[in-house]
Amino acid sequence: MATGGSLVGSVRAEPRSFNRYINNGQTEETVAFLTQAKLVRVNRITDDVEPWLAESWTEVSRQSSVDGPQSEGLKPAPGPVYRIKLRPGVTFSDGVPFTSADVLFAFQAIYDPRVTSTLADSLRVNGQPLKVRALADHDVEVAFPSAYGAGVRMLDALWILPKHKLEPALRAGTLAQAWGLTTPPADMAGLGPFVLREYRAGERMVFARNPHYWRRDEQGRPLPYLDRLTLEILPDQTAELLRLQSGQLDFTHSAVRSEDYLSLKRAQDEGHVHLLDLGIGLDPDWFWFNLSQPAAGSKPWLRALEFRQAISISVNRQAYTETVFLGAAAPVHGPITPGNPTWYWPELPGGEYDPARAKALLAGLGLTDRNGDGMLEDGQGRPVRFTVLLQRGIAAVERGATFIRDEVAKVGVELVVVGLDAGAVFQRWGSANYEVIFHRLLFTDTDPAANLDFWLSSGSQHVWNPAQKKPATDWEQQIDTLMRRQAASLDREERARLFREAQRIFSEHVPILNFAAQRLFLATSARLTNATPSRLIPLILWNADTLAAASTK
């Protein structure tokens, strides 16, 4: 593998700060992947949990942890307790050794209410924080408040920032303001493969090799291979692709839009770029009905299960993938896509295309064509019409909504598509002032236990009726129970079985309609080698330390 050299990539937005505890945007996450490290890492290709800053871990029995001689000060915890051995000899980029004090600091900072860390929710089980204590310089004990099937996988969310740099800010209650954009790069330190060398507002971030980085390749050579990595700040995706094709960029920030595929394929044939097939993406499109309000006065049918089922089966998902994604997608009828093979259930019932049955279901609700115009009316002669809100400017979502509108029109239902800006859609969702929203939500992990906020009726991402005090319906109650058991079980087979059952109930009640998951392609230059792109952001930089440049221009 060639060592040295530099590569140029891109991000879509300006960073808001270099403090990953505060900001969770894609740019901040990308910067964290380059400059920081975690205790464990979920391999984005194999989906396995890998030792990272933690060299190894063992689950100790709860009893021994509570009653043993080292357990003073640790309250009894019903969940698993892990003893984690930290990798010895690791130092931050400024040469200061990494110890268990940094791990304790990370937890303390993230859970501090003054910090309002965006990571805090990802590091809780049933709303309760993990408990951590140092056993020695390189040994820590992490106690989960309750049983958690995914175990230490949760620690993939824990970025370790340097205590010696940030502790004063935490004490002063100013950690939320620390490591802003004017902080000199020399004042920041990390355990990642690169260090920030320069930030030019509106232009780029330049990262240099971290001379203290701890990883080596299989031949024992120090990583990262690259000397330098530059991330250009390019808000426009079209301009970004033109830069790539002209050789001024080595890789793009996000997956290729389906409408750009053909031109990039041509560029690949001409030898200008490489197209890497990442497979089917993890995130389908989401079309959900507002189930958080009591039955609407004039449209009681809008909350009826049969109506949702009718809309679902009136859309030809295969045709949807061909029209909206030009064939580069897989039809889906559940939230888990083939891109997540560990948890995808190919035999999930539902999702068939059956307009005749859709019409019958609608007729069963009293929705028939009363005036012979080909469109349905309710009992009072009012047209069967509802409005879908979507975020303006996302071409695939706009095309998708148009396709669905045309499909449901064939069964006599009128769909009005309204594009709004992101803030307006959020506000309408937050105030439950909508009928249907068509949107893209992103799962942050492939493991369903890490996405309980979506599945549980009390979750903030339970988008069709969020943050319920108690489950509003029996089927949501059933899913809650199944998902809690699933998340707590340590038996892999049992978890899979419980999750399949939860998916079956979900599919039966279709609170959300899913139509397709896009096939993802990443465009890179010919200079970039040894890339192992994943389907999660950052597509290519999750493994930045092994990226290499074929030759220096």
Binding site: G5, S6, N24, D121, G180, R243, A424
Partner: protein, 330 residues
């Protein structure tokens, strides 16, 4: 003259006040806010959103937020950006310099191209001038987004110019101008100059087309005026007649819109700066709007209004300089 200046300055202050206040209130009234954007919109943890709103004072009524902001703005303190946690004035100063560079370049190119072509097409009728007229109409009808994309596409296909940005990412890896004989500021200036043509042309071409069309019309009108006919009868050469006498009069309507052009250019162009990745005021405003950063939006709007006022003032001053009648009335 002093009274005139005082009047214009008062107008400028009022303009800045009204525009920035309106921007702040409109962004404040628009759905969504900084906190909801920060935590990803739909599905965001309501407790985190609420805590951020409270810590940034966004949970207070808009009128109260506005009053606090106004009190500080009166002391020329536009507050801290919510997005970048830095003083708004500092952010604007940085980006305004970049935009000014672009604006000056675009204005120069537009003037150098537009005015002579306007004189030419206003005074002659032949195949060449018809082609210029058609090109101008075409340039005027192309939206800035398309013009920028077209130029970026050309730069990308030919490789003659950088596709975007203000400086090169990595000169030693093949991009940029190379390092021989240059260092520091000179190197930076050369690099910036090399990046200027694409955004400058994207801005300048439609403006030069507009100047050409306006001046051509104005020249046509002026050539028929009695004082020109009189001068022609006295035996003045056509060249002298056109460039010395007709142009001076024909420029009056052009100069009046110059102020607007200068102000618009200095306020930054969303589209051109985004497509060409130029780190200017337009892009800052765009980012501020997307991130619902009310204070930064208000600051950018204030800067835009200020530049517009300055542009108008410059145009007025030039008009006064070239027209003695205005000097007397001022």
């Amino acid at each position: 003259m002093a009274r005139y200046l005082v009047r214009r300055l008062t107008f400028a202050v009022l303009l800045v006040f009204c525009v920035s206040s309106l921007a702040l209130l409109l962004v404040g009234l628009a759905p969504g806010d900084y906190a909801s954007e920060l935590f990803g919109g739909i599905g965001a943890n309501p407790a985190l959103v609420a805590a951020t709103r409270a810590s940034d004072g966004l949970d207070r009524p808009l009128g109260q937020q506005y009053a606090v902001w106004l009190g500080r703005a009166a002391r020329l303190d536009f507050g801290n950006s919510l997005l970048y946690r830095r003083p708004v004035t500092e952010l604007i100063r940085q980006r305004a310099m970049n935009t000014a560079l672009l604006a000056i370049g675009a204005l120069l190119v537009a003037t150098v191209l537009g005015l002579p072509l306007g004189v030419l097409t206003g005074s002659r009728r032949n195949g060449g001038t018809a082609l210029v007229r058609m090109t101008s109409i075409l340039l005027l009808s192309v939206p800035p987004l398309l013009m920028s994309l077209l130029l970026v596409f050309l730069a990308s296909r030919t490789g003659w110019l950088p596709v975007g940005g203000m400086t090169s990412a990595a000169t030693e890896s093949g991009f940029g101008l190379g390092t021989s004989g240059f260092s520091g500021w000179t190197m930076w200036a050369r690099d910036v100059a090399w990046h200027l043509p694409v955004p400058v042309l994207a801005l300048a071409l439609p403006i030069s087309a507009m100047l050409e069309r306006l001046l051509a019309q104005s020249i046509e009108d002026t050539i028929g005026a009695p004082f020109i006919l009189c001068a022609e009868a006295r035996g003045l050469s056509r060249r002298r007649l056109l460039w010395r006498h007709a142009l001076r009069v024909a420029l009056h309507p052009i100069l009046s819109i110059y102020g607007l052009i200068i102000g618009t250019l200095l306020s930054g162009s969303f589209m051109v700066e985004i497509i060409t990745a130029w780190p200017g005021l337009g892009r800052l405003t765009y980012d501020a709007l997307r991130g619902r950063d009310v204070y930064l939006v208000a600051g950018c709007a204030a800067a835009g209004a200020l530049f517009l006022a300055i542009g108008s003032l410059i145009a007025d001053a030039v008009q006064v300089a070239v027209d003695p009648r205005l000097r007397e009335s001022a």
